[in-house]
Chain length 355, copies 4
């Protein structure tokens, strides 16, 4: 397992859906920085289950407890150890899948790779582990302060928000439970998710993230290009199936004469098909990217599958699950973007701070 | 700069478009394995410039020279050092851009990040550096032997091959200069590229890669999921703007009941929307993914830009460049897939070989 | 800060002398291995304070609590998160040094490097952090099973045990509180430490570690030679000032004709000046090395020093400290040796298991 | 194999005693720094064979050729690739040991670990590989400029220079072929080595290294303490058997009241038993450490050994070897100290440059 993320600013995480706690260690934190702990908890609350009728009804307080690395409200430069206790485990809900391989879950691959599997709630493959990411991301955001990172839901199923991000008011993102800043579209997304839930099904969606006020010079070619590390970060989120930045897949249809971003005398560019990154390095324009999420694998319908012996079985949908992950994915996407950018900022300082 | 790729099997590369040579060091190679050096050169030939009228006419022999790590035809376990000399540098072609920032190139970001820039041919940001990747990938392919990795061009501009990969004959990939296994579509792609070239423009495209016969168990959750490392690898290729695997962006429109891959008693799945990866770990089904490439930034047309002092200038297209990168990108994509898979195979052996 | 140790088998630790808890995350653990948790606690008990009159009287239960990675008694391959609560913090004991730089402590360097310092009990520089090492080491020992690792005290101040390790009975190590297997010398060491304590002083010492039954082939030249990683591991123990293995410093006085270890037909060597390592790789003979520990910096005497403003002050010895660290260092040395060897064993498997 | 050294400033090396070339890639180099290439060659000349009658008579030009990363005399931030051709290989000298395991060489361990071995000149285990270290170290020294790093021979066999380093004139180090700054002792060392050579034997020795003008704050506890990384670096030098810094092994005999370094109002310390490092972090005082080197294993005498089949054979001393390694080890020790310190300086900048 590879449970450390980042090169200088590093999160090492542990814990599974069921068990005493999840948590992590954050290393490589600049020292002597005041942290707003309440704000970290608020970020966690954006991710936590049960926050609206659109999400799983599992009730977790998701209360983070810091164990080290903060002294009199400031970072000491020591690693920050933290835990989040698991309080609403209903392990019995999983007795029926102890020997089953649920379709499109990690049951089969974990069993084959490790020869053993904590079947309760998906064990380590559970999206519950992303809570640790949100903690580290919330700290990263505070250190980055000048940089603003905003993610929002821009598609649910085949419904897609047609507006460019420039035409949206990011202050509206948190006003709807589906985290779409366009009120009309938000309403449609909500209805879509509710209708899907009613039929015991789940549905995919998309999240767009926009990073403004990025300093020029982040990214480390040739094998840690900024877009490569962002893609790596995002594809580690359970359920993400695709990543595109700047012009993305649409860019593959364009001509060079259309796609080239012409420089202005103020070193900005007229267009931004580059998505704020050229040659793997940030150029000071907005960074934006979009992620595709597949529908949640646990559905409230009967499905055929096999058990550990290869026998055909019937799996019945049980437990408490999200009908659509994208609303809760928003803070996770922001967190990973923040960690990635901070990591690059620290790396860049080490080599290029004398310029 | 971060010029090392991989964790166990690692390529550390160096070199720029102009200068004595490019090359690299490959470390973490299993010992006592016979290498077919001619085959490595053949892979390089698939990437080299000037191979057809669809590519840049720069003439580089791209002859790899091994300096260490191979003894009597076998790997010793030592690092393999290698160089590829630059023979067709026309540095004068670049005098006119010494102080210019070309649109959508890395001139601006390199200058700002490093405070200095080798302006000849893009320096280290040149796609020429991908030759070292192909060398390491060719070695990885030989070690993986049982696994087959095939990439092909599936779109040029707005022309897209509609067939599924299962309906294609991968033996036909190398028969067309555009590396599309469908003869009819290949012809259309070629015409598209030639017409684009005639008007001094460039065009984007897409590459799909299919990996068959992957052992179950590759990938290291939670932060080195197989898809995350593949995305990271691919987004390091210059010009790549998007990555999707399995159901990809289309998957975000689906319902869970449609998307779930039902297991069969033989541990295969009926469908493969998962793209051969579940919970970040290979499940033995085919892995497939698609990449979007933007159009090459260097066009044979006049463009407005700025120079190092922020003054507006006119850039004229000069030099020898590809009108469309996707045909030459095919071996690079395969190479990075091979390196990534081998790396995971070696990692998995260290922890799980006793099973 | 760099709080991760190891490459495949990795401990990431956190926590300071005072504060809620110390702990860590262990990643890269082979899956499906039964762990004896009681045995891990026993190893911790060997390190814990207050175990004899020779050690500090701080009373810490040093009870380890595992939070993840173990399911039904076996490793799952997930990271193991664990905490050890700090129960006997007397932070008031440190009020007098809040602004002082104690001689030969880390107060000065931490303040200068980080611009902030948790002055209570040395904060992160406290040897208390070694408890996490012992936990990871105890797990490593269980996985290594066939390999035996035994450390013992071989010198206190200028008293030195003259016997070779071959002439000692390692079963006697734990029978004396000073952890010297030679009863006579143990008694002398004890008296030396007690006399030193009486005068409010501290004293240095040496620890020798012997590893038997090491498989041939551990170590990764040229920059992770086995001896280099062992030295690195050991010099991270607070108070260690020197490392020598095999013939060590004495070997620098020898002739090649004396020092060369002649091979026997059974592939053993007649002598073992090499210390079980040749060319950075284990050769199957015993590995042995010796460490020098300086005297503990906290003494129960008045000392002159400076405060944070450069003013001369008087520091009075307070708090509860060890008069000599070597008895409690023994399990720490063993733990780091175990972690290092296991890490190399896993690395070697990844590249060379097919031989 | 692990052929990369360093975390930010990294040398990845390749090559063996025989074969086309050795070389390396240096990554993580601050950009826009003028390099004096002649000076780098001079450092290599200090290490090269045949420089005096005290060293092996193998004649290697050891001419370094830079292939990338330097543009118009300055670093670009790109990786620097370099090679040093092997010109005086006499592979025939090694035909007699093709199937032999020479005593105290790496023949046996390499064969067992890798299942194959380049027997010519020790292959990758040859000290020839240290030339790449000297190149990287020479670059590091130029970047560190204000810091002075001086190593010298302080013992040959049982002859030991009794003076403290403070009483030596480091300008005299290069005036004697044995690299001892004390003229009288240098003469004795030379005679000792010559007499040893006459009888076909080899002899060990010691090197001390002193680093002055180190900034406060280098070192990354708790697992990359400055002394731990120095020990790690030095124990990777072939033939090193021991490392001690500051008070070293002698310090283990001292009392705390003697050993503590009392601070002065100017933040210097009266004594420096700490060796310039407290809590794993440099405190601004001189860093000094001493290394023990074993005698070279190749002697010009007949020795008994075994071959690859376990049969007893006689090995006759052939080839061209050093009777004592310490004179040529001096620039290697300095190089590794420079790389280590620069790496820590860059790491510290990333996290603590805002203080």
């Amino acid at each position: 397992m590879s449970n450390t993320f980042g090169k200088i600013f590093r999160l090492t995480s542990f814990g599974a859906s069921h068990g005493a706690a999840i948590g992590g260690v954050i290393d490589g934190i600049p020292s002597n920085i005041s942290l707003n702990l309440q704000n970290i908890q608020q970020e966690l609350n954006r991710r936590k289950p049960g926050q609206s009728k659109l999400t799983t009804q599992r009730k977790e307080a998701d209360k983070v407890k810091f164990l080290s690395g903060i002294f009199e409200g400031k970072t000491t430069g020591d690693p920050i150890g933290f835990i989040i206790e698991n309080t609403d485990e209903k392990s019995k809900d999983y007795a029926h899948i102890k020997n089953a391989f649920r379709p499109s879950h990690a049951d089969f691959t974990y069993q084959k790779k490790y020869g053993i599997r904590d079947y309760r709630g998906g064990g380590r493959s559970s999206a519950r582990t992303t809570a640790s990411i949100v903690v580290a991301g919330a700290i990263a955001k505070q250190i980055l302060d000048d940089i603003s990172i905003s993610a929002y839901v821009n598609a649910v199923g085949d419904l897609k928000l047609k507006k460019n991000y420039q035409d949206l008011d990011f202050c509206q993102i948190e006003t709807s439970p589906v985290r779409c800043p366009d009120a009309k579209m938000a309403q449609k997304f909500i209805e879509k998710i509710e209708n899907t839930k009613k039929i015991g099904d789940t549905i995919g969606g998309q999240v767009t993230c926009v990073v403004k006020n990025v300093p020029i010079g982040l990214g480390e070619p040739v094998f840690d290009k900024l877009q490569a590390r962002l893609a790596y970060a995002m594809l580690n989120i359970p359920a993400v199936k695709g990543f595109e930045y700047g012009s993305g897949f649409f860019g593959s249809k364009m001509l060079g004469s259309q796609h080239n971003d012409i420089f202005l005398p103020n070193e900005k560019t007229k267009t931004n098909y580059s998505g704020g990154i050229q040659g793997g390095i940030s150029n000071g324009m907005d960074i934006y990217f979009t992620l595709a999420f597949k529908p949640v694998a646990t559905i409230m319908q009967d499905q055929e599958s096999i058990d550990i012996n290869g026998e055909i079985i019937k799996i019945s949908g049980k437990g408490r699950h999200d009908p659509c992950v994208v609303p809760r994915a928003v803070p996770i996407v922001e967190a990973l973007a923040a960690i990635t950018l901070l990591d690059f900022m620290l790396l860049d300082k080490s080599l290029n701070s004398k310029k």
